[in-house]
Amino acid sequence: MESCYCIEPQWPADELLMKYQYISDFFIALAYFSIPLELIYFVKKSAVFPYKWVLVQFGAFIVLCGATHLISLWTFTMHTRTVAVVMTTSKVLTAVVSCATALMLVHIIPDLLSVKTRELFLKNKAAELDREMGLIRTQEETGRHVRMLTHEIRSTLDRHTILRTTLVELGRTLALEECALWMPTRTGLELQLSYTLRQQNPVGYTVPIHLPVINQVFSSSRAVKISPNCPVARLRPAGKYMPGEVVAVRVPLLHLSNFQINAWPELSTKRYALMVLMLPSDSARQWHVHELELVEVVADQVAVALSHAAILEESTRARDLLMEQNVALDLARREAETAIRARNDFLAVMNHEMRTPMHAIIALSSLLQETELTPEQRLMVETILKSSNLLATLINDVLDLSRLEDGSLQLELGTFNLYAVFREVFNLIKPIASVKKLNVSLNLAPDLPEYAIGDEKRLMQTILNVVGNALKFSKEGSISVTAFVAKSESLRDPRAPEFFPVPSDNHFYLRVQVKDSGSGISPQDIPKLFTKFAQTQSTATRNSGGSGLGLAICKRFVNLMEGHIWIESEGLGKGCTAIFIVKLGIPERLNGPRLPFIPEVSTSHGPTAFPGLKVLVMDENGVSRMVTKGLLVHLGCDVTMVSSSDECLHVVSHEHKVVLVDVCVPGINGYEIAIRIHEKFTKRYERPLIVALTGNTDKVTKEKCMRVGMDGVILKPVSLDKMRSVLSDLLEQ
C-alpha cells in the first residue's frame, strides 16, 4: 500500500507496530534531549574540557536527531503538510550536522587518544621521580650518618675510644647484629679479635692472616660480602637462625714512619685491620649499595683517626722520654757539680793541710842545714830536704793540674816586667847548673818589650819547668835559652796546622826556645811527652824523679795563654829543643812614664798618682771648683778650670784626658756637654774621659749619665781617696 496523505486512518493492521514505533521514537527523543543536558552538566562540573566546539556540534547533532524523532511522532497519524515540511527540514539539518560531526571526529579522536597516552607517560615519570627522591633521601641520610660517625670518631684521640665508637655508631646506624674488628698481631701473621659490639672484652680469638677470604678483602678497597661461615664471621652462637649477610672491609693502619712530607703513603706494604659487619639474622635484609659505601667511608675515616691517635701517642711518648732524660741529665749535672765542688773543697783543704806541714818540714830542714852537723847528719838532712821539696812540687803540680782540668783555673793577668821574669829564672837555675857543670846562656831579643800583660806567675812556672827539664835531662854540655817576639813565619809550627796565631795591635807572641845538649828523645816518644804521668822509659830518666806532670801542666798553661808548646829532638843522645809560643798583651802607653799598675788603691798619701794628667774641670760654683782643683792638684794633675759649658766646649781639646763636669747645676745642662764632646771627638782615643760630679747618685741620674756617654759618676762632696780611685779605674780601662 502506498503512503498517501488521505485521511483514512492506517491503524487496523500495523496498529501494534505503529504503537511500538511511536513509543520508541518518543523515548529516543527523550534520550536524545537528555544526553546533551547531561554532557553540559558534567562538563560544567569539570574544570577543564578543551573541546567546547566539538561539544556544541555534538549537542546540536543530538538535539536535531531528537527533534527529528520527536517530529516523527506526529507522522504516525494524519498530519498536515507543515508537519511534513518541518520533519523534512529537521532531517536535512540533522543530516548536515551529523556529517559535519563525523568529519570533525576524524580529527579529534586521535587527539583524545593521545591525551590518554600522555597521562600514562606522566604517571610513569612521577613514579620514576618518586624513586629517585627516595634514593636521594637515602643518600643524604647516609651522608649524615657518615658525618656524624666521623665527628664521633675524630672527636677523640684515644685509639680505643675511636675503635669502640666506630663499632657502636656503625651498629646503630646500620642496625647491625654484630660488628667486630680484627687487628693484626705483632708478628703480623695472625688477626686477633680486638673489639666487638656485643661483648665487652672479647676472648682473644686469632685467625691466620693468609686465609683466601681475608686476602680477598685486603686486596680491595671496597666492602666485600663474605660468607657467614668463614672464620672471621663466626661470632654468633650458631643456631637455628638463618644468619644475616656479612660484609667485611679493610682498615689501613698507617704507621708513623709512612708519612712523608709531600707524598701520601703508598699502600703497598700496609698492615690492615679487618672490620666485619653482620646484619641481623632472619631479617631478610640485604646489604644495599649505599650502606656499603657508608661502611667504606667509615673505614677510611677510622684509618685516618687511628693514625692521628698513633702520632699523638708517639709524640707523647717522645715527650715523656725527653722529660725523663732531662730529669736524669739534670740530676747527673747536679751530681757532677756536687762532685766537683766536693773535689774542690777537698783540694782546697788538702792544699792547706798538706802545705802547712810541708812548709814546716822544708823550713826547719833548711834551718837545720845551717846549724853545725856531722857529715852523716848533713847527708841525712839534705835527703830530707830534697825529698820534701819533691813532695811539695808534687803537691803543687797535682793541685794545679786538677784545677786546670776542669777549667776552673783562670789566668791572673797583670802587667809585669818580662826581662825581670827571665832574669829570675836564670838566677834560680844558675846554682843548679853550676853544680852540674852545665853552661847556661840567656838571650833576650832587643825588640822584646820590657813590660807585658799576662799571668806572670804561670809564665815563670812554665819557663822554669821547661828549663828545669833541660837541666834534668842533660848531664853535660850547655843549655841556651832564647826569647824573642815571634813574627808570622816563625809563628807556625808545621806539626800544628790548627794553630793560627794572629798578632795584633795590643798583643804580641813571645817565643821561647830552650836548647839542651842532653840525652835527647826518640821521635816516637815525643807525642807522649805532654800526657800526664807518662815518662819515657830510658834509664836516665827513671832516677831523676818527678811526677811526669810538669810538661802536661805547662801545656795547659800555654794553651790558656792561647799559645802552643812542642819539643823537637833529632833522636837519642842528640839533645832536644823545647819551644813554646804564648800570647801576651802590650801595655798601653800613657803621657809620661807610669809606675807599674797597682790593682789595689793605696790609702796612704802616696806619691802623686797621676803626674801630669791634664784634667778639665767644669763647675759653676766657685768654692767647689776650687776644692776640686785642690784635690786634683794634690794628685799631681794639671788642672784647667772653666765655669760654663760654652767655655768648656771651647777649651776642651784632645790633650785633656779627663773632663769633670758638674751636672747638678740647674740651668746648665751637664749632660749636653757630654753629648757635644762625643760629637767633637769622634775617634775614641782622642776623646777625653767624661766624669760627672753630682750630688745624688740615684739610679736615674746614673742611667742618664751612662746614656749620654759619660764614663763615670762621682758623688759630691769628693774625697781624695774617691777621686784617686775613680781616676785610676778610669785610666786603667
Binding site: V623, M626, G630, P717
Partner: protein, 149 residues
C-alpha cells in the same frame, strides 16, 4: 800661752766644731789637700766661701723682698749656696739650704723667708767659728809651732 797649750786648744776647738755639726768630713778632706805646694789652701777656700755666700745671701734677700717672688732665681742662689757649703763641709748651712730648696719648690714665701733667716744665722755662726779657728792657728804659727792635724 805656750805652743802646746795653744795646739791643744785648737784641737779641742776643732773637735767641738765637728761635734756640734758645724763642720763635717769634707772639711777634713780640705785640710788633707793642704801641703807644701799649697800651704794656704784651706784659708783660701774658706775666704772664697765667705765672699760667695755673702753675695748669695744679699741676692736672696733682694729676691724675696719683691712683690712677686721669682722662685727660680731664689732656687738658683740657694743651690749655689748649698753647693759651696757642702764643698767646704759647712754642714749646718748645707742642711738649712736643703730645707730652703723644698720651700722654694712649694713656692712658700713665708717658709723661704724663715729659711733665709736661719741660713743667715747659721752662716754667721760658722763664719765666726772658722775665723776664731784661723786666729788660733795664726797664733800657733807665730808662736813657732806647727798646726796639728
Amino acid at each position: 800661752m805656750d805652743v802646746v797649750q795653744l795646739q791643744r786648744q785648737l784641737v779641742d776647738y776643732r773637735t767641738s766644731l765637728y761635734h756640734e755639726g758645724f763642720l763635717d768630713e769634707q772639711f777634713t778632706q780640705l785640710q788633707e789637700l793642704q801641703d807644701e805646694n799649697n800651704p794656704h789652701f784651706v784659708v783660701e777656700v774658706v775666704s772664697l766661701f765667705f765672699e760667695d755666700s755673702e753675695r748669695h745671701l744679699n741676692e736672696l734677700t733682694t729676691a724675696l723682698e719683691q712683690q712677686s717672688v721669682d722662685f727660680r732665681r731664689v732656687d738658683a742662689h740657694v743651690h749655689q749656696l748649698k753647693g759651696s757649703s757642702s764643698s767646704i763641709g759647712a754642714q749646718r748651712v748645707q742642711q738649712v739650704c736643703i730645707a730652703f730648696r723644698n720651700y722654694c719648690e712649694e713656692q712658700n714665701v713665708e717658709g723661704c723667708l724663715e729659711c733665709l733667716q736661719q741660713v743667715k744665722h747659721e752662716y754667721s755662726l760658722v763664719k765666726t767659728k772658722l775665723e776664731s779657728m784661723f786666729q788660733l792657728e795664726q797664733q800657733i804659727l807665730t808662736a813657732g809651732g806647727s798646726i796639728p792635724m
